[in-house]
C-alpha cells in the first residue's frame, strides 16, 4: 500500500498554493513585465504613490484567474474525496462492524428457528412469523443500504449510521432466550 502523503507530494510543488504566485511561470513573468508600464499609467495615478511599496493590486484578470484556480482546486478536492481509498483503520473498522451485523443476523435467525408453531395457527401467528422474517432481513439491509447511501459522503457518516444500526438492531429475543 502506497503512502498517501507521498502521492500528494508527487502531484505538486511545495508552495504551489502561494497566492502571490501565478500557477504557471510564464504568466507570472508577464505580469512582472507589465508592472512598470502599469505604474506609469495615468489611470493608476491614485495608487501610484503606494504602488512602489505594495505589490500590484489584483486586476480583474488576476481575480478571474484566482477564481478559476479555486474552482479547479475544488473540483480536484471533490474528485479526491470521491476516489479516495479507505484507510486501513477504516477498513478494519468496517470489518468489525460487518462482523457485528453478521452476528446480529445469526442471532435473529436463531430466534426465528427457535419458534415453535402452536397447535392452532391463527392470524397472529402469521404476523409474528412475518415480523421475525423482517427482523432477520433488517441487519443485512441496514448494513448494505448504509454503505450504498453514504458512498458519496464522508466516511464519518458511514460509521455514524453503522454504529446507530448496532445500537438499534440488537437481537433482544435471542439474548432473552426466545
Amino acid at each position: 500500500m502506497s503512502d498517501r502523503r507521498d502521492d500528494d507530494e508527487a502531484l505538486g510543488w511545495a508552495g504551489d498554493d502561494d497566492p502571490t504566485l501565478s500557477p504557471e511561470g510564464l504568466p507570472a513573468r508577464e505580469a512582472d513585465a507589465e508592472q512598470p508600464t502599469r505604474l506609469t499609467d495615468g489611470l493608476a495615478a491614485p495608487a501610484a504613490s503606494t504602488a512602489s511599496t505594495v505589490p500590484a493590486r489584483p486586476t480583474v484578470l488576476d481575480e478571474a484567474e484566482d477564481a478559476e484556480d479555486r474552482a479547479a482546486e475544488r473540483e480536484l478536492a471533490d474528485a479526491e474525496t470521491a476516489g479516495a481509498q479507505l484507510s486501513s483503520a477504516a477498513l478494519i473498522g468496517l470489518g468489525v462492524l460487518g462482523g457485528i451485523y453478521l452476528l446480529y443476523t445469526i442471532g435473529w435467525i436463531v430466534s426465528f428457528s427457535r419458534y415453535q408453531t402452536p397447535i392452532t395457527v391463527d392470524f397472529s401467528v402469521v404476523t409474528y412469523r412475518i415480523a421475525q422474517s423482517l427482523a432477520v432481513a433488517a441487519s443485512p439491509l441496514w448494513f448494505v443500504s448504509t454503505l450504498l447511501l453514504t458512498q458519496r459522503r464522508d466516511a464519518r457518516y458511514r460509521f455514524l449510521w453503522l454504529v446507530i444500526g448496532v445500537l438499534v438492531l440488537v437481537p433482544w429475543p435471542f439474548l432473552m432466550g426466545f
Binding site: 500528494d8 502531484l11 505538486g12 504551489d16 498554493d17 479555486r70 482546486e73 475544488r74 480536484l76 478536492a77 471533490d78 479526491e80 474525496t81 435473529w108 430466534s111 404476523t127 412475518i130 415480523a131 421475525q132 423482517l134 427482523a135 432481513a137 433488517a138 439491509l141 441496514w142 443500504s145 450504498l148 447511501l149 438499534v168 438492531l169 440488537v170 433482544w172 429475543p173 439474548l175 432473552m176 426466545f178
Partner: protein, 122 residues
C-alpha cells in the same frame, strides 16, 4: 496543497448545507413514495393497535389493573411504526427518491426488530 484541498472541501460542504434543509426537495414523486410507504407502515401500526386493544381487554376481562410499565410497553409497541416512519422521513430529506425508498424499506424491517425487542423484554 493539502490545506487548499481541505479548504475547498470545507467550502463545498458549506455550499451543500442550505439544500439539505426542509422537505422542499421531496417533490411530487418523493411524497408519492412517502404515502406509499405510509400504507405499508400502517400494517405495523395496525398490529400494534390490535395488541394494545387485545392487552387492555385481556386485563379488564381478568379484572386486573394495568400497571404503568405495561401501559408504557403497550403504547411503545403501538407507537414504534409512527416513530420509525417519521425518522425515515427525516433521514430521507437529504436523499434522492430511490434512496428514500431504500430508507423506508430498511425502516419497515427495523419496526419489526424493535417490536420483537419490546415483546422479548415484556
Amino acid at each position: 496543497m493539502t490545506d487548499a484541498a481541505g479548504a475547498g472541501r470545507a467550502s463545498t460542504l458549506q455550499q451543500e448545507k442550505p439544500a439539505k434543509r426542509g422537505f422542499s426537495t421531496f417533490g411530487r414523486s418523493g411524497w408519492a413514495i412517502a404515502v406509499l410507504f405510509a400504507f405499508l407502515y400502517a400494517y405495523h401500526l395496525w398490529g400494534g393497535l390490535a395488541n394494545l386493544v387485545g392487552v387492555v381487554s385481556t386485563f379488564s376481562s381478568f379484572g386486573v389493573e394495568m400497571g404503568g410499565s405495561v401501559w408504557t410497553l403497550v403504547i411503545a409497541y403501538a407507537a414504534v411504526p409512527i416513530v420509525v416512519y417519521a425518522a425515515a422521513l427525516l433521514v430521507g430529506r437529504t436523499l434522492r427518491n430511490g434512496e428514500r425508498a431504500v430508507v423506508f424499506v430498511v425502516g419497515f424491517a427495523v419496526v419489526s426488530v424493535i417490536s420483537l425487542g419490546i415483546l422479548a423484554i415484556a
